[in-house]
Amino acid sequence: MKRKLVVLLSAFLLLMILAACQSEEADGDRDEVTLELWNNLASGSTFFPKLIEEFEAENPDIKIELNNVNVESSDAEYQAAISDNSLPDMFITDAFSMNELVDLDLVHELNSVFPEEAQEEYTEGVFDEGNTRIGDNIYLFPIFKGGTYMMYYNKAVLDDLGIDTVPETWDELLAVGKEVYEKSDGNTEGLIFGGTSGWLVDAFVQLMATELSPESRMDYVNGEYSFNNEGNVETIEFLKEMLDEHALSQLTLETNSTVAREYFAVGRTAFLIDGNWTGQLLEDENEFSDWGVVQLPTKNPDGKQYGEFGVSSNDGMFVSNNTEHWDEVEKFLIFLRDNMYEELVNVGEATIAKEFDLVDGEAPFEQIEDIQDIFSTMSIQVPNPLAVNPEALDVQLEVLKNGPDSSPGEILMGYLTGQVSDLEGELEAYESAYNKAFDDALEAHESVTREVFQFPDWVPYEPYTEEDHQ
């Protein structure tokens, strides 16, 4: 027994020593400054190391430590880091909004990194209130300018089956989907998308709905939420018809966006709906290049769709207010401002925040031009209540929090699996619950009135610029 005790004790001692060693290591060298950077961008693990290497070569006394955090777990990680004030010097997150971070005084302003002349090189609207700026201060280092969704097609599959129309309307998509299914004896199907990725379904259903109902989601003229509208109903009915006619793959119901993309790349379906970053993933992850990309199909041949332009927290980088090395951080940010976008284009990112034409990089695949084009047509500035009254954000957040659980995307999936039978009833219930949460939030915030959300002069599909806001 004594021997066992000795073993036990020495194990403990060993652990203590181990722990002690680790804490000493962390102190590091005094002459060298180490900056920490947490990244959750998929492509970031490719382009950041390159940029960091370059920067460190120019600045031998600054070291950048890159930590790629996983999206699945990043919320818990950030909550923990914030709760004890140990946020890394720089971080990219989608766990919290800029407003929340600013309210809690967690992030440092970046005004000196973006003087007027630097701002001019960026796409219009990037430095608008609520996008990267709150009041007079810029807090978010813009990397991307949001994103949009589009339809990819597998050229190899279409060639094999002797199909040469790339569908632009719903009718064409349905017809081609049926043709693919029949010609291949059911081995290949028409369309797929990652049905279990809620964010994806919500986003593209919303885009498709704006053709028939530009007021879908937010009715800017009347300042209220709209979900039970023709756009949503017709889009959902159409996708249901696609499924029933075998033009939309059954696999859609059980796959997420990653797996859906894999099925598409190996030729199990001819079409895929996914985000603007998908082209790059098809090339890098699936080693598949024989694809093309078009705008989401519309119901009418000349139909228009639009997506709301906006930079969100996962499109940029924050600097922690706790950083002890602001000067070095600033140096690194300026370096990034001047060099990063080129690298972004080099890895195939199409929706960079800087003007695409001003950036030198060369994309690894030619379809990036199409993606860029689709993005610029789809992404349109919409009226921004925050520009009228910054406190409108508190109302919006409260609506998000207290609003109903489901979403039009969820309702679509429920309708496809047959669990939702009364489509309009479900949408109506959703809409009224949403508007009730909105009414409650307005009531709770006396300084914000409904007028803040009303823009009678708004013209659908037209950009609503800073001048329009007066």
């Binding site: 194990a11 722990a19 804490s23 998929a42 818990a76 990680e77 880091a81 004890d84 990653t258 199990r268």
Partner: protein
């Protein structure tokens, strides 16, 4: 004769069901030898066309599984050691000594078994930070060992309560004190219970996820295998076959431990309940 047929039938059924039972593992291991592109399309055939060791190399080197493996071993072994020591001592005291307040402690212990704990990860992190133990293996070990290990305590207590009083008495006549009686005479008979508790705690700690994740936030090099598995899952891509390789790697130690200790395992539970 009839018996033999029955036995034959039993074996056949057990083998057929056994194969179905472990088919997912066969599938997982075979996937770990495939490439990501053949992974989804290979359908019913579990055998890979070519053996690709790349996945293992990728998991071991690129995803740093070699480092994670060592962390997992250190954390799991230490946790098992601590938990068993604590619950064994507590179980002995509860099972053999009728000290004042014992009933209260037993009641509290049983009530705790069902105490619902909610969102504890952030306060746990704060606590470790206060003690200066976040971002160290010791912090993870202590957090994993925390909690009252009710099931183990009860197993030990039940086992020790069955040791005949004469054993203790004769030890006392030989001049052995309380601690020596425990350590020299009673403890060696508790091997099966120790083995049971060790296996179960090993399984839990080995696959524990959230605690090691959050407590090693700023030191990715301290992560465990279960946490490291996440590095195969990206926002827009998943390295399925790398993950299968990683999972196969992390499965080996647990299976070995079970095979070695399997014999004691059942004895351990029945020994204390008998």
């Amino acid at each position: 004769m009839k018996n033999r047929t029955a036995m034959f039938m039993t074996h056949t059924l057990l083998i057929v069901f056994g194969i179905i039972w472990i088919y997912p593992f066969i599938w997982m291991i075979s996937s770990s030898f495939k490439t990501n592109s053949t992974f989804l399309t290979s359908g019913i055939n579990p055998l890979p066309e070519n053996i690709h060791w790349d996945n293992y190399i990728r998991a071991w080197e690129v995803a740093n599984f070699s480092g994670y493996f060592l962390n997992s071993v250190i954390i799991t072994l230490s946790t098992v050691l601590i938990v068993i020591t604590l619950s064994c001592l507590t179980g002995y005291a509860l099972g053999r000594v009728k000290f004042p307040g014992r009933k209260v402690i037993i009641t509290v212990v049983v009530a705790l078994m069902f105490i619902p704990s909610g969102y504890t990860i952030i306060p746990l992190y704060e606590l470790m930070k206060m003690l200066g133990l976040s971002d160290s293996l010791l912090g993870v070990i202590l957090a994993e060992s925390s909690g009252a290990h009710i099931l183990f305590i009860l197993l030990f207590a039940a086992f020790f309560s069955r040791v005949p009083q004469e054993v203790e008495d004769s030890a006392a006549i030989d001049g052995a004190g309380f601690f020596r009686t425990f350590a020299k005479i009673v403890l060696p008979t508790a091997k099966p219970v120790i083995a049971t508790a060790a296996i179960m705690q090993f399984i839990w700690t080995w696959s524990s996820f959230l605690v090691p994740l959050v407590l090693t936030l700023n030191s990715p090099e301290l992560r465990t295998l279960a946490v490291g598995m996440l590095s195969f899952v990206g926002r827009y891509q998943t390295d399925w076959t790398g993950m299968a390789a990683g999972a196969s790697i992390s499965l080996v130690p647990v299976i070995l431990i079970f095979i070695v200790m399997q014999r004691y395992f059942i004895e351990g539970i029945s020994g204390s309940v008998k």
